[in-house]
Each structure stands twice: as structure tokens, then as C-alpha cells.
């Protein structure tokens, strides 16, 4: 029997090895995935016992802080947002039951002071308890307030303002806003509000037809690819038959032999439609992708809460690529099935403003540990260089014309040259607008001062009967002025 006993012991060894194997799997190898499961409240509960760091605006205004509740083993911290709805987007919220979102979610590790496994052991040995770091943002409270105030007066929509040379996000506003302090009480109500959708950050998730603002991208592709120069004349009739449907200019005006400046200043549809066709789909898509289309914008927000921009096929539920059949002339003027986020259009404006270089847009600026030391500082980095400095300069000239004498005169700031582009996409029968027939998506993108840009902005308003110059350009002006005055 002894041989069998030894074999039986061998089996027990194997069985116990399986136990060790499974324990290692759960506790080490699969631990990260398990911590991210929705059903797992532990990470949040544990973080709740850590004093989560504050989130501050650029000027030190406290946007989010944690206050203690209970004591002893029941001690926990609850998040408070002193500024209420002003920073609901893009800061988001962080609560145990409801989870977290946006900036709070993306910068969680810094806010709770999660270091490596090794240094947390050192912490345990030294008896120090974990404490979170403060994260200072680039957000400009005055400009954020102006942006949200203007939006609330104009309608649902969003404003994104970026410092072109660094990618610092100075304003990220979405209307309707929500007060993160209310999330523990009315999350389901906020979630099920299908019409207002206050939890949707329209600045990063809104998928809007860009209208004529997209002509900046088309023009950039034309100049950079050598398809046109600023002097290239294109005959733009008042009406052009494309794919069986006529493409019309505003008021049916025809522009014979128009060059880029004229075409952009007057937002000539048939001019840009033809340019799009000359570029060809491969080239236009290549430049779109250089500007960040078809990719998740490289901003410091959770990837699932930032939408991609591009030609969206609603049936396939995916973005189309350069080999899919599209109506190129209408893509070139921002129609067809093209949808963009306000963030993406702000990146386009910022690229032109920054001599053709697209910097990664970042909301955070620095991380400050509990002792007040700055442990990390934003090091601005380039995402891509879609166009050359020369092309950017040529575009700037054309965009200045838009504001000085063209469709975007309401964006003008006295004493400061402004470059920009209006957009008015017709969205008749849109469900989000309640099905009205006269509904537009109004846009303005631009930057100021034109020759030495300090700020690039995209502003958009949904479901309005007015044009980009009427509702979006004034928002641009107010926000730009606020930021320039604060410099």
C-alpha cells in the first residue's frame, strides 16, 4: 500500500499547487482587471478612506476637495465640489456608490497617492498612511464662467479653449451642466434625462456636424499637399451638381476665379467642394488623421469618455476610412456624415495658431504632494505636425479675412486681430432638437491675437435657428477677451 500512499500524497501536492496557482492568479496576475470590474467596490471604498487630494483651478480656486465623515474604523472621506456645476465637466465626480468619471477618474492614481507596490510597502513599514496629492489644472475660472454663462444664454453646446503653444486646456465647458454634488442623490435621474443629457460632456463627447469650420481642414490639406496655392483660382458657380444633388452657395452667389482668401472669407461651398474632389479621398483623409480625426484625442480624460471625430456610418456604427465610398465634395465642406467633437475643432484651430504643430491638449498642470512639493509638472508635448509653418501662416491670413470682412465679424475684438471660421450645419428634424425643421448647429473656431496667438477656441451651439456668426462667434469673443485680459 505504501506506493499508493506516496502517489496519493503526490496528488495532494498537485491539488494544493492548483490552490496556490489560483490564489496567485486572483491576487497578482488578474488583480488589475478585477479591480476594474464594476461589481468591485473595494478600490473606491479603500480610496474613500484615503484623504483624496484636491483639484484646483489654475489660480488656486478649489474645484474638488474631500471632507472627513465618521471616525475610527468608520472614518471616510466624501467628495465636495465647492464650485458646483461650473466644473461638472470636465472634472467629473468621484463617489463610492456612483463610481467616478472624467478628470477625477483619469487622475485617480495621483489623487489617491497610489505609488508602486514597493513604495507602498515602505509606507506600511514606516507607518505612514496613504494621502492623496493635489492636482492643479490649467482651467481659467473667469473664462470657464464666461463660457458656461454664454452657453446657458445661447442654448445647449460646448466651448473648448486651448493654449496653442502648450496644449493647456483653459476652458472646457458643456451646457447643460450638472452639479457633481448632486450625483449621490440623483445619478439615475441625471442618467435617464434623454433630452438634456447633462452627464454627457458635449465638449469631448458631443458629435456634431462641423459645417463650414471644416473648410479650415480642407484648405490646410489643399495648401500642404500642393494641390493649391493661395493664388490658385477656382471657378465657384452658385450651384454645383454633386452626386445627383445640387451643392449651393449662400444666396446662390457665384464666385468666378476665387482664391483661398475669398473662398474662406465668404465660406464658398462650391469652391471647397471642388477642392475636396481635387484632393481625392486618400489625401483629405490623410490630413484629417494628421489633425487627430479617427483617433481618440490625446487629452487627459478616460478614453471611453472622449469621442473620435470622422465620417460616421450610423448603420455600421463605425468611422469610415479612406477606402469607404463617401461624397467627397460634401465631406470637404463639413457635411455628409462627418461628425466632430468641439475638442477636435479646438485642436484644429490650435494647430493653425501654433505654426502647424498640434500639441497634446492637457487639463492638468502639476501634481503637488501633501507636503506642498511639486512632484510632477506638465511637459508640453507635440502630438503631430499636420501642416508646415508656412501653410499655417497662409491659413491664418485667410482666417483673419473671415473675421475682418467675412462671415465671422461678430468674433472681432477691438484692438486685437482675430483669425477664425464660422460654421452653420443644418440639422433639420434632429431628434436632439425635438425634430424642428429650422435647426442649425452653429460654430465658431479661431484664435487670437492672430499674429501671436495666446488662445485657440472652438464654440458651438446646438439646435439654434441662428448662424455661427450670431450665436457662436460672440461666445468666442467673450471667452477670448476674458483670457487675454487675464494674461
Amino acid at each position: 500500500m505504501n506506493r499508493q500512499i506516496v502517489k496519493l500524497f503526490g496528488l495532494v501536492v498537485v491539488l494544493f499547487a492548483v490552490l496556490i496557482g489560483f490564489t496567485s492568479y486572483w491576487s497578482v496576475f488578474d488583480a488589475k482587471a478585477l479591480k476594474e470590474k464594476d461589481a468591485n467596490k473595494r478600490p473606491l471604498l479603500e480610496q474613500q478612506q484615503i484623504k483624496r487630494g484636491r483639484i484646483l483651478a489654475a489660480d488656486g480656486t478649489v474645484i474638488a476637495r474631500s471632507v472627513p465623515k465618521g471616525h475610527g474604523a468608520g472614518l471616510r472621506y466624501v467628495r465636495r465640489y465647492p464650485e458646483g456645476a461650473l466644473y461638472g465637466h470636465p472634472i467629473g465626480y468621484s463617489f463610492v456608490e456612483e463610481g467616478d468619471s472624467e478628470f477625477e477618474q483619469f487622475h485617480n492614481d495621483e489623487l489617491v497617492g497610489n505609488e508602486s507596490e514597493f513604495s507602498s510597502i515602505l509606507d506600511q513599514l514606516s507607518g505612514g498612511s496613504q494621502e492623496g496629492n493635489d492636482v492643479v489644472t490649467n482651467l481659467d475660472p473667469a473664462a470657464q464662467r464666461v463660457a458656461l454663462g454664454d452657453l446657458e444664454a445661447a442654448g445647449h453646446g460646448a466651448v473648448v479653449a486651448i493654449e496653442p503653444q502648450s496644449g493647456r486646456v483653459r476652458v472646457l465647458a458643456s451646457n447643460p451642466p450638472y452639479d457633481p454634488n448632486r450625483v449621490p442623490y440623483e445619478l439615475s435621474k441625471l442618467n435617464t434625462n434623454e433630452i438634456e443629457t447633462p452627464l454627457v460632456d458635449r465638449a469631448t463627447q458631443g458629435q456634431y456636424p462641423p459645417g463650414s469650420t471644416f473648410k479650415v481642414v480642407t484648405a490646410a490639406a489643399g495648401l500642404e499637399s500642393g494641390t493649391i496655392t493661395p493664388e490658385t483660382p477656382i471657378d465657384a458657380p452658385g450651384e454645383l451638381e454633386v452626386e445627383g444633388t445640387p451643392l449651393r452657395n449662400d444666396f446662390g452667389i457665384s464666385w468666378p476665379g476665387a482664391t483661398l482668401d475669398t473662398a474662406l472669407t465668404n465660406s464658398v461651398n462650391t469652391w471647397f467642394g471642388q477642392l475636396g474632389q481635387r484632393l481625392g479621398e486618400a489625401t483629405l483623409f490623410e490630413y484629417m488623421e494628421r489633425f487627430g480625426f479617427n483617433s481618440t484625442p490625446p487629452i487627459d480624460l478616460p478614453a471611453d469618455q472622449v469621442s473620435k471625430s470622422g465620417v460616421y456610418d450610423a448603420e455600421k456604427e463605425e468611422l469610415l476610412g479612406p477606402n469607404d465610398p463617401v461624397d467627397l465634395a460634401r465631406v470637404a465642406i463639413g457635411q455628409e456624415r462627418l461628425v466632430v467633437t468641439p475638442l477636435q475643432m479646438a485642436e484644429v484651430a490650435a494647430t493653425v495658431a501654433n505654426k502647424g504643430k498640434l500639441m497634446k491638449p492637457q487639463i492638468w498642470s502639476r501634481v503637488v504632494d501633501p507636503d506642498g512639493r511639486v512632484t510632477k509638472r506638465l511637459d508640453p508635448s507635440q502630438y503631430s505636425q499636420p501642416i508646415s509653418a508656412e501653410t499655417a501662416e497662409e491659413l491664418t491670413t485667410a482666417m483673419e479675412g473671415v473675421v475682418s470682412e467675412g462671415t465671422g465679424t461678430n468674433a472681432a475684438i477691438s484692438g486685437v486681430p482675430v483669425a477664425g471660421k464660422t460654421g452653420t450645419a443644418e440639422t433639420p428634424g434632429s431628434k436632439a432638437c425635438g425634430g424642428g425643421e429650422e435647426e442649425n448647429q452653429a460654430w465658431f473656431i479661431g484664435f487670437a491675437p492672430a499674429e501671436d496667438p495666446k488662445i485657440a477656441i472652438a464654440a458651438t451651439v446646438e439646435c439654434t435657428e441662428e448662424f455661427g456668426n450670431d450665436v457662436a462667434a460672440p461666445i468666442f469673443r467673450d471667452v477670448a477677451e476674458t483670457i487675454l485680459n487675464g494674461e
Binding site: M1, L8, F16, L19, F22, T23, S27, D38, E117
Partner: protein, 443 residues
């Protein structure tokens, strides 16, 4: 060094570990060191010392490592339970004392454990009655859908813990007598070696008993534990692996059939396969068990630093932390390394148990030692495997660690039997104490 001196040497670090463990929990909860932990350590060491002295007198040659290993597991249990709830730890300490008393009584009165063979049918019937007791009206108790507990007046216990010993005693005795015929009488049918039909009956009875437990007591864990112990014994007694395969097939067929007909068993399997289907209801316990382990990592969060309830409330975050999921709490607070220590301790106990079986001279001792060791190891596997999702989670206790009097007392009785077998085996292999004491040491 003599066996008993080695035992004494091994008990010292165990007592120190207990002291250190309590000190750590105190330090965490009260932010100060307290000499109470020294007092607890001293009590614990005194109890171990008394038991050791008793063993020195009664079973001088018995295996020196088993008792310190069991004490080590008790240390893990006492500290973790104290950390959950000091009142529960006080109960546990009382049961530890009671367990040691029964340990001593077993050694006192079963020194000649061959007597067990004579009463094997009585013991078998007692074991089955114990199993059935939880279903009896008036005294039976249902816990989480399974009938595991019995309550007579103020006395509540889990009979399955004791019945496992009864069944192992019966099987060891029965197989000792019939193993020859089981081997010789076996025939090959269609290339499969089958046991002789005549002796098939009793085997069927054991299979039936396991299935019965599945249906009547609705306890998949105990059923698995009993049947696996039976197969282990059958294999060791006959050396026929085919018997094991047949037995396993029969169990799986039966378990599959009942899993699809008995809702409680079916649910257990369903939760095991799809825990995320109802993460806040049926899947809650296993998921929280795994989440707790995920939080432990390599080194754990440290004593008393894990979460058992949702802070500020009494809602369980790790349900049944003191019983079913205590292993998950150990992983959570002591990490993968702590868990390895626990599993290795069980493995060492199994190794010593099987060593005793190897040394034992007569068939009954061999089979009894094998059976007791196997059932002990399998019980640890069933519950640790349950909380780590190797197998469906069932309410079996983690021997010597989980909170619960029946489990502790029964396992100390089991330990006493192993030590009795060990002492006799070594005595018989050493003809004279004086001659062998030196020359044969360390064999």
C-alpha cells in the same frame, strides 16, 4: 534531539507568532502597543505547553510536528478572528481549550484504537445518523439553503465534522478486511477492471450516502469531501486506479443529475460558472472573495487593514469572513505569501499524516492514517478551492482556522488519532526504547 524536544522547539516560534500577530492587530486598531498581546501569547503558550507535557507522558514517540503545525493554523485563525470580532475570538479560544481536552481524552481512552474496528458498523451507523440529524425536525437547522447544523438546547454543532471521522474509521476497517478479495476477485470486462460484484454492494452504499448528502443535506462540499476520501482509501487499499475512475465517473454522473434536479446544488454550480450573472445577489460572496484576494497582492494590506464591511455601515463586503471566506481575508491582509504559508502548513500536515501511514505496520493503522489525512487535506482543498473558484463554493470550514467549535473539536480528535497511530508505529519499529532511542533516531 528526541521527538518531543523537537515538538517543544517548534511550539516556541508558534507562540511568538501568535504574540506578534495580536500585537500587530492591536497596534493597527489602537495605534499603540499593548501588553495584552503578551498575555494572550503566554496563555496560548501555556496551553500548548500543557498539551506537550501530556504528549510527552502518553505518546513519547508520536510525530513531533503535527501538533505544532495545528497550533500554527490555530494562530492564523485566532488572530484573524480577533481582528474581525474580539468576541468571536474569545469563543474560538474556548473551543481551542475544549478541542485540547477532547484531544487528550481521545489519547487517554483510545490508546488501543483497534477497538474501533470492533465497533465499525456501530460507528458507521452513528456517522450516517449524524449526517441525517440536520434534517430532523426540531433540532435541524438550515444555513444558506444547506442543512448543516444541529441545535439541541443551547448546544449547536455541525455533525458533518464528526461524521467524517466515523466514516473514515468504518472505511479503513472495512477495506482492511476486504481489500484482498477486492483485488483478487476483480475481473476485466471490456478492458475495464471491475470490482467483484459481491463486494460492490458496500461500495454502492458509500456512493449512495454521498448522493444522499447531496440531495437531503444539499451540501455539495461535504459530499465531495466524503466521496474523495472514500476513493483515496479505495485506491490505497486495492491499488486499482480503475476503481477510482469508475467511482469518479459515478460521482460525476450522480452530481450532474442532482445538479440539474436539486435547485440548491444547481445554483451553486451556476454561481461558480457565471458569478457575474448576479453580482449583487447570488454571485456576491464568490466575487467579493476574489476581489478581496485581488486587493491583497503579493504582500497583503497588513493585519486589520483590509475591509470586511462597507465603512460606516454593517453591510458585509466579505460575507462570512470568519468562516467560509477566511482564506480570502488572509490573502487580503497577508497577501499571496501569507496564503502560501497557510497552504504549505496544510501540505506539511498532509505530509506528516501520510508519513505516519507509511510507517504504520498493520493494515488498519495504515488505512486509518491515510483516510484521516486525506479527509483533512481534501476539506482544506474544498473550501480554499471554493473561495478561489477552483470548484463551486460550499460551506465547509477551513480546518483549525475557521471560526466554529465543531470543526476545531473534531479536527483535534482527528489529530489525536493520527498521533496515536504514529506513536504505535514508531514504538513497534523501535524494539527497545533504550537501544533505539539513540541509534534509530532520525530514520
Amino acid at each position: 534531539m528526541s521527538a518531543r524536544n523537537r515538538e517543544l522547539m517548534a511550539l516556541v516560534p508558534v507562540a511568538l507568532l501568535l504574540t506578534a500577530g495580536f500585537a500587530a492587530v492591536f497596534a493597527q486598531e489602537n495605534s499603540r502597543l499593548d501588553n495584552v498581546s503578551l498575555v494572550y501569547g503566554a496563555y496560548f503558550f501555556a496551553l500548548c505547553l500543557a498539551t506537550h507535557v501530556y504528549l510527552r507522558v502518553r505518546l513519547p514517540r508520536a510525530d513531533p510536528y503535527l501538533f505544532p503545525l495545528a497550533a500554527l493554523l490555530m494562530t492564523f485563525g485566532l488572530v484573524m478572528i480577533y481582528r474581525i470580532d474580539p468576541t468571536l475570538a474569545r469563543d474560538q479560544a474556548n473551543w481551542f481549550v475544549l478541542g485540547l481536552v477532547l484531544f487528550a481524552l481521545t489519547i487517554q481512552f483510545l490508546r488501543d484504537y483497534d477497538v474501533l474496528e470492533r465497533y465499525r458498523y456501530t460507528i458507521a451507523v452513528a456517522g450516517l445518523l449524524l449526517l441525517l440529524a440536520p434534517r430532523l425536525p426540531g433540532i435541524g437547522q438550515q444555513v444558506n439553503g444547506a442543512y448543516l447544523g444541529v441545535k439541541i438546547g443551547p448546544l449547536a454543532f455541525q455533525p458533518a465534522e464528526f461524521s467524517k471521522i466515523c466514516l473514515v474509521v468504518f472505511l479503513a476497517s472495512y477495506l482492511r478486511e476486504h481489500r484482498e478479495v477486492l483485488i483478487v476477485g476483480a475481473r476485466r470486462v471490456l478492458g475495464v477492471t471491475l470490482p467483484p460484484l459481491k463486494h460492490f454492494g458496500p461500495m454502492l452504499v458509500v456512493w449512495g450516502a454521498s448522493m444522499f448528502m447531496l440531495v437531503v443535506i444539499r451540501d455539495l462540499g461535504s459530499s465531495l469531501m466524503f466521496f474523495a476520501a472514500f476513493l483515496a482509501l479505495l485506491y490505497v487499499a486495492t491499488g486499482r486506479f480503475s476503481f477510482v475512475v469508475i467511482g469518479m465517473a459515478m460521482f460525476l454522473v450522480g452530481a450532474w443529475f442532482f445538479a440539474s434536479t436539486v435547485p440548491h446544488v444547481h445554483d451553486r454550480v451556476e454561481i461558480w460558472l457565471n458569478p457575474y450573472a448576479h453580482p449583487h445577489k447570488s454571485g456576491y460572496q464568490i466575487l467579493q472573495s476574489i476581489f478581496a484576494q485581488a486587493d491583497g497582492g503579493l504582500f497583503g494590506k497588513g493585519f486589520a487593514q483590509g475591509l470586511i464591511t462597507v465603512p460606516g455601515t454593517n453591510d458585509a463586503l466579505l460575507p462570512a469572513a470568519q468562516t467560509d471566506t477566511i482564506y480570502s481575508l488572509i490573502v487580503n491582509e497577508l497577501g499571496l505569501f501569507g496564503a502560501c504559508a497557510v497552504v504549505l502548513t496544510y501540505l506539511l500536515i498532509a505530509a506528516r499524516g501520510f508519513k505516519i501511514a507509511l510507517l504504520a505496520a498493520d493494515g488498519f493503522s495504515k488505512l486509518l492514517a491515510t483516510g484521516l489525512t486525506a479527509v483533512f487535506a481534501i476539506q482544506a482543498f474544498v473550501i480554499v478551492g471554493g473561495v478561489t473558484r477552483v470548484i463551486p463554493l460550499t460551506g465547509v470550514t477551513l480546518p483549525f482556522i475557521s471560526y466554529g467549535g465543531s470543526s476545531i473539536v473534531a479536527n483535534f480528535v482527528l489529530l489525536a488519532l493520527l498521533l496515536l497511530i504514529s506513536d504505535r508505529a514508531r514504538r513497534e519499529s523501535e524494539p527497545s526504547e533504550r537501544l533505539g532511542g539513540f541509534a534509530l533516531e532520525g530514520r
